[in-house]
């Protein structure tokens, strides 16, 4: 009876269509936000920052982006790493050209640039679907990485081919560079994820989101009720790439600080893990994007604690286990629960709702 919803009647369509129709969810979310904004910043240290919270927030951003394209619009993409690289290099180049520009604007602009690149690489989706589209996005991934390696202009002709962030501040506090305090980088990422997370949810529950899902579920019928397939698919590519570009920008500027494109944005480093996140978290679910990101960040830490520290296996063996477990989980989820952790959560909620009177 914790999740008791009887008695919660909605008197207007506006309130019935709110993001958290159940009061319990709304309260839980508000508490979470209070803790995230007002408690965590006081306690965060660099371990929590670098090992857990920042990667979680950045992966969540990327997962939201891919979920828009794949989970909501049904266009499978293996190009996430490439699009994140575009975001990272856009940030680097903008920083070079406009040293005075505010970091928040730089990050958002990087998203916009990636959105345009996304439209370009989304064009094949008008002709090809499913597996073939996945292969085409894989090709764009390879092309983008190759380009950033091949053209020295992108990394300002540095000898190593690396790009390195310079310090940028918000309200006098560094958020990029070696001197940025953990609370600042954390809050910077958190604000972006929360604001853009809401924006994504809003799009999904209105016209554009329904157009994406219509194309995903049955493109022929969508066309016949007047959803233009071309425009709709490209809008999904653009908006998805915007989120992924911002993830790439943060990954470079706030998280790593310096990187080399092949190593950081390889398909095994980004494209596949982010796809795993949305499959395990839940295709076509906002909550799933976050659950998947949390899962991928926490699983290695959990396994390291258990297998290396507790059982005493070598770190290499633990890594092998991790990969095996990922593979297993993917198969299990694809077969048994294609809607991922988000569905398991809603089933659990359903049970709580009825507890202790299951009938």
């Amino acid at each position: 009876m914790i999740y008791k919803e009887t008695g919660q009647f909605k008197s207007t369509y506006e309130s019935d269509h709110s993001i958290f129709p159940l009061i319990q969810d709304k309260i839980a979310f508000n508490i979470l936000m209070l803790v995230a904004f007002l408690v965590v910043p006081f306690f965060i240290d660099s371990y929590w920052e670098k090992a857990i919270l920042i990667p979680f927030l950045i992966y969540s951003m990327a997962a939201i982006g891919l979920n828009i394209l794949t989970g909501y619009c049904g266009q499978v993409s293996l190009g996430t790493g490439g699009f994140m690289a575009v975001g990272a290099f856009a940030t680097y180049k903008i920083m070079t050209f406009f040293p005075e520009l505010n970091i928040m604007i730089i990050v958002l602009l990087s998203g916009v640039i990636t959105a345009f690149v996304g439209i370009l690489f989304g064009l094949p989706s008008l002709r090809i679907k499913g597996f073939y589209l996945a292969v085409a996005t894989l090709a764009s991934q390879f092309f983008i990485i190759w380009l950033f390696n091949k053209v020295p202009w992108f990394y300002n002709y540095s000898d190593t081919g690396q790009i390195t962030v310079s310090e940028r501040t918000m309200f006098g506090v560094a958020v990029t560079g070696a001197n940025a305090p953990p609370y600042a980088t954390y809050l910077f990422c958190l604000i972006l994820v929360v604001v853009l997370g809401f924006a994504a949810k809003n799009m999904i529950r209105s016209k554009i989101g329904r157009s994406w899902m219509a194309i995903r579920d049955m493109d022929i019928a969508a066309e016949i009720i007047g959803v233009p397939p071309l425009k709709t698919k490209l809008s999904a590519f653009a908006i998805s790439s915007f989120y992924i570009g911002i993830a790439g920008s943060l990954y470079f500027a706030v998280y790593l600080g310096a990187l080399e494109v092949t190593e950081s944005f390889d398909i095994m480093a980004i494209s596949f893990p982010v796809l795993f996140m949305i499959i395990i978290g839940g295709l076509g679910s906002m909550l799933g994007s976050f659950l998947g990101a949390a899962f991928i960040v926490l699983l290695p830490i959990f396994l390291k604690n258990v297998m290396v520290d507790l059982i005493g296996l070598s770190a290499v063996t633990a890594k092998h286990f991790e990969i095996t477990i990922w593979g297993l989980l993917m198969v299990v989820f694809l077969i048994l629960e294609p809607h991922g952790l988000a569905r398991l959560w809603s089933i659990a909620k359903e049970k709580l709702r009825k507890w202790p009177f299951p009938y």
Binding site: N202, S206, I208, G209, A214, D217, A221, I224, I225, G226
Partner: protein, 266 residues
Amino acid sequence: MSLAKIQSIPYGKEVIKIKNISLAFGGVKALTDVSFEVKKGEVFAIIGPNGAGKSSMLNVINGFYKPTSGQINFAGEDRKEMIPEFAAKSGIARTFQNIALFKGMSTLDNLMTGRLLKQKQNFLMQALYFGPVQKEEAYHRDKVERVIDFLDLQAIRRTPVGSLPYGLQKRVELGRALAMEPEILLLDEPMAGMNVEEKQDMSRFVLTANDEFKTTIVLIEHDMSVVMDISDRIVVLDYGKKIGEGKPSEILKNKAVIDAYLGVAD
């Protein structure tokens, strides 16, 4: 705008004139030199045995198939072919023989997609989701709720349609078409696979839509008792050719029709 043109046509006058339409897929002739007219406000039935070209005819009308030759006169203008988006914008809605719902979406969302063409807010406003967008959503939600009430879909509002039984899916598909507030409704075998009671419900919905909302209905149906009951006029196709046209009473007396169809099928 052709929607306005259609609306200005008086009831009882032709809205669609099919003129000598032929359609071939490679060697297969799906339609051969078919002509007929649909008048505004009527229930018009297309009947004929399987493979006669009935579904193909609906696909030509809403632009999904491009005819090989012939013309479609729509709202007073001759066209070589229709275009799906244009057809939708001009007030033509349809359902499919093999249900074409958005299976992962709820009944409510499926019906809301029927309102997409009427929603004008851009995606940035939708991302912010304030004032005008909320208002627009609520306005269309209200329209959709009327369809939900009309078709008795309240209990399955939030259910993903993929998990609904067949008969209900057919009803939701009709709901999605009605949510478009169409001028012309193309129904491809809306009662196929239903039991008698479900067929009665469906006939009632179709007739009410025709009566109250003045929607012109073009219907494909195999159950002769239903067709004879609810249609004003009927065209009969066989092997892609028109073999008869007229009021139900006339069709029942038509020798060619009886030989080709009525005698054999039912």
